[in-house]
């Protein structure tokens, strides 16, 4: 039986995530009953938001390739909008910012078409050239370098980097490799989000030595190491189901995602610290903004994509 367009393996993994969330929900309920004095509101909110995010993600994937690509384009849009709302911008650049938004449909169109060369060069080459030229033509030179730099960085991270998740969908079909696109996406996104949670839990439980105290005082060596090891374990476990990776390549993928996720996370922490905010937004109750949720994915997506493409497709 094939519900919607997902492979049996993906359905099982999604069911597994559902089971994990059921356990998390029940544990939180139990904790609330056991310790009526403590405040579990944030934990409850977070788990509730996970339910919603997993449901949306599963439905988008289940609707098939085109809808999944549109979904990731929308995530890019939300992330870019949050970023541009957070950083200082210039009034004169309103139209330039609009052009930066326009790179989203174009970039995801290359994805949908499976046009690999344009997918890899459109934003770094054409996006860089067109958007900076458009900004030059505004003829506002005060703070020009900051404005052009921050806008380019936003396009590279929120649009270019994130679009690599979507390209995984068309990668196997395009090169005739094994496995299907949706399973690669589930593998990457599940490991990335799992790694976030694992690093958090390890850090909360055993954390002692801070890694980058000036950027993110909550991050510890223990959390980082524990998270990477757990993520790598899960990467090896899931690889035969969802990917063509052999055991040692799965170890490498796990290490890459564990480390990459951490780096993506602290990169957005740096941005937030520079601006002076704790959360990037309020869209996802208990989590903060969209950027707070996709920060790790911005690093893991291109890393995992090029790793698996280089060796397997």
């Amino acid at each position: 039986m094939n519900v919607l367009q997902l492979s049996r393996e993906v359905q099982w993994v999604l069911a597994g995530i559902g089971a994990l969330l059921v356990v998390a929900t029940l544990v939180t309920r139990l904790l609330k009953v056991r310790n009526p004095g403590s405040d579990y509101r944030e934990l409850t909110q977070r788990i509730h938001a996970w339910w919603v995010m997993v449901a949306i993600f599963a439905v988008a994937l289940g609707l098939g390739e085109r809808w999944s690509i549109a979904f990731f384009a929308f995530v890019s849009f939300l992330a870019l909008k949050e970023y541009l709302s957070l950083i200082p911008t210039r009034r004169a650049d309103r139209r330039v910012i609009f052009w930066a938004y326009l790179t989203i449909p174009v970039q995801y169109w290359w994805v949908a078409e499976g046009y690999f060369s344009m997918f890899t060069l459109f934003i770094p080459v054409w996006g860089l050239f067109i958007v900076s030229t458009r900004m030059v033509l505004v003829q506002e030179t005060h703070d020009f370098l900051r404005a052009v730099g921050t806008l380019q960085w936003g396009m590279m991270t929120m649009v270019f980097a994130l679009s690599h998740v979507a390209y995984l969908l068309v990668l196997p079909a395009q090169s005739g490799g094994p496995g299907d696109g949706a399973s690669l996406v589930v593998y990457l996104v599940l490991l990335t989000e799992f790694n976030d949670v694992a690093q958090y839990v390890w850090g909360k439980t055993f954390g002692k030595h801070k890694v980058v105290p000036k950027v993110s005082p909550g991050k510890t060596v223990e959390g980082l190491a524990g998270g990477i090891v757990t993520t790598t374990g899960l990467a090896v476990l899931l690889a035969p189901w969802l990917t063509p990776l052999d055991r040692w390549d799965a170890v490498a993928a796990g290490l890459l995602i564990g480390m990459g996720g951490f780096l993506g996370d602290i990169t957005i922490s740096s941005v937030k610290r520079d601006i002076g905010v704790k959360d990037s937004g309020t869209m996802i109750a208990g989590h903060g903004g969209v950027l707070d949720r996709v920060n790790s994915l911005m690093a893991t997506a291109p890393l995992f994509f090029h790793f698996i493409r280089f060796f397997y497709y």
């Binding site: 541009l84 709302s85 210039r90 910012i97 938004y101 601006i275 937004g281």
Partner: protein, 213 residues
């Protein structure tokens, strides 16, 4: 007012644009009134201000929400007048008196007497993006005449970036909407205006707003 068109416009179109294309960050939503009469008094940067204010309240209150707007601008031709009064549901007010004893606020007073929720911009017309303008005395005079009607200071931010005065291109930015505690008439116009300004300053200070120059 045309109820069906108004519902379609606000609940389908405006909500879609405001929540998906722009995105709202509302603080203290629980302070908003559950019914009329009430005055929502916000700062004014964009045409979208009115639409955002109306979409803050549940669709069930839609028939009772009326934004106050300048008649010379919004009734300037027949199409605009039809759209403003039938779909947006504006209360048109004149900016200049024809006779020295003419009461320009009378249409607003009528709406409040009917128990409606009035959206009012105490700064008058739209100002420079994301800057406060000096207040006009209208809000204080309304509060004086209706001492029992609560006035809700509402601070809006982001619309001056998304669609400022004089621009037709909508550029997506998240919007911040901070709702203040309701205020009531205290017996003095100057004092009321000063309190309103202080409430708005306090709301603005709650947020973090990146420079926009």
């Amino acid at each position: 007012m045309n109820r069906v068109l108004r519902w379609l416009f606000f609940v389908v179109l405006v909500r879609g644009v405001v929540r998906v294309l722009l995105g709202l960050n509302v603080r203290h939503r629980e302070r908003l009134p559950a019914g009329g009469p009430a005055i929502l008094a916000a700062n004014h940067n964009s045409h979208l201000d009115t639409l955002v204010l109306i979409s803050l309240l549940p669709p069930s209150l839609l028939p009772r929400i009326r934004p106050v707007a300048a008649a010379d601008y919004f009734l300037r031709n027949r199409l605009m007048a039809w759209f403003s009064t039938k779909v947006i549901g504006v209360i048109p007010i004149k900016r200049q008196r024809d006779r020295p004893d003419e009461d320009l606020l009378e249409p607003v007073c009528e709406a409040l007497r009917r128990g409606e929720i009035v959206c009012f911009f105490p700064e008058g017309s739209r100002g420079e993006p994301e800057r406060f303008k000096p207040l006009k005395s209208g809000i204080a005079r309304l509060a004086e005449r209706f001492p029992d009607v609560p006035v809700y200071p509402i601070y809006l931010h982001g619309l001056g970036k998304a669609l400022p005065k004089g621009e037709a291109l909508l550029v997506p930015f998240f919007l911040d909407v901070f709702v203040g505690e309701p205020m009531r008439w205290g017996g003095d116009r100057e004092r009321f205006l000063a309190d309103y300004r202080a409430a708005m300053d306090a709301l603005a200070a709650e947020g973090h707003f990146p420079p926009w120059k």
